[in-house]
Amino acid sequence: MLIRQAPEYRWSQITPREVYGNRRRFLAAATGGLLIGATDARAQKLEGVTKGFVTQGEKVNPKEDVTTYNNFYEYGTGKGDPVRNAGKLKTRPWVVSVEGHCAKPRKFDIDSLMKLAPLEERIYRMRCVEAWSVVVPWIGYSLSHLLKSVEPTAKAKYVAFETLYDSSMLRPEMAGIEFPYREGLRMDEALHPLTLLTFGMYGEALPKQNGAPVRMVIPWKYGFKGIKSIVKVRLVETEPACSWKIINGREYGFYSNVNPEVDHPRWSQASERRLGEFFKRKTLMFNGYGDQVASLYAGMDLKKYY
């Protein structure tokens, strides 16, 4: 009864949730000739996207799974909160400042950042630390393109990211984490080709609740490492502070690689529920990307560096 079947319709035929949720405004706009509100809500199609890495043997989740079930604490801690509240996020103008230990620090306007390298579609699994997962066709390019463009110096050992923190957000500090949301990667992780600077999904620009206009996707790490709505990228010498690690380092380590053998202290990470499936499935080491990334951690005790 709970098993949902693969939809027979195409993405292009589905009214996006944002538009559907705004149907009154859409109608008002259509009749009154005032289309600004409605076009604002409609997802922008991304052009010139080539096909990139595809995770084999996986079926992409329906778009609605990925756009209505989110963790974006700045817009509420319930899974259904971000789709309702993130509409207040203003994604233009948007500047991403790349700074720190590099020869050419630079502030990128989001539209020029999107043109820095060719956009690719990549189908990745995403495994949340809460033991659920989805398969998403992301659009972006390897973060290495951006990092190389600013010429990191020898002191750049880590990359620190920061999310926007502004008044469109709903007093997120009530949820117990420190904001702005911060995340980080080791330099070799950040330069790994699978590490995706992400601007879109399902052929379109990122919806706001999914971290518009630009976010990280690191497919072999737990989802919370994939920081959303990035405004700052800093090249630093020491391991940067990360939001979840700050409030509970015992549960959310710096690396947070998907690892079925290292349990979260409060729940097992051995299995996960794929959205749309009835029973849990086994979680894969490095989320199934071990062939590509295991060498980054050769010789490291992953129980210690969780």
Partner: protein
């Protein structure tokens, strides 16, 4: 009005409504992208709500001067047990697939599961001894035994508290309500009979 037999039917149906909603939602795809989580959370939420409601009956009778509320206490408690049972079953069936070894490992290893299981085990004898026959047989001990309902509610709040990642607002709210109910119990006015 509260004495009408229909009032019981209304409360009974109200208690059934969430279960009907979950069933309807499951069949019509209305529970969001993770329906199993929605059902697990929903049945857990309703266990706590109904348990607190049943514990609120006694102080409400006194404070509001509506002694007839007692007619609903057993029903609310049994419905709390029913939702606790459904909640437990989502875990037994959908999470652990009836694997006793895995379930045991979870109960021993995970604090929040330990607390939840303890709460359920407190409710179990209460549900069994809820019949008129058992009330008569146990006499004064029945009341003593049924104070376990407070322990069960406390275990439920702790279970929820230990589960959340960082946002403790909801479990804290349930905890405050439970604390208030306990306080009302502790500061019962002595012999002063309330005018009715």
């Amino acid at each position: 009005m509260l004495r009408s037999k229909w009032s019981k039917v209304v409360v009974w149906l109200a208690c059934l409504a969430p279960a009907l909603w979950f069933t309807y939602g499951a069949f019509t795809n209305n529970l969001g992208p993770n329906p199993i989580e929605a059902i697990t959370r929903g049945t857990g939420d309703w266990t706590l709500r109904l348990l607190l409601a049943s514990l609120a009956i006694t102080p409400a009778r006194r404070l509001l001067g509506v002694p007839d509320l007692i007619r609903f206490r057993r029903m609310l408690g049994l419905w709390a047990f029913a939702y606790a049972f459904l909640h437990l079953m989502t875990w037994v069936w959908l999470d652990k697939f009836f694997d006793p070894a895995e379930m045991w490992a979870d109960v021993v290893k995970r604090k929040f599961v330990t607390a939840g299981m303890a709460g359920f085990l407190c409710l179990l004898p209460l549900a069994i001894t809820s019949t008129t026959g058992w009330i008569r047989r146990l006499g004064k001990n029945w009341q003593r035994l049924h104070r376990l309902a407070y322990v069960a509610a406390a275990a439920g709040v702790v279970h929820y508290w230990w589960l959340v990642k960082s946002d403790i607002r909801l479990p804290a709210m349930y905890g405050l309500i439970l604390a208030a109910l306990l306080a009302l119990r502790a500061f019962k006015p002595r012999a002063a009979p309330s005018p009715r």
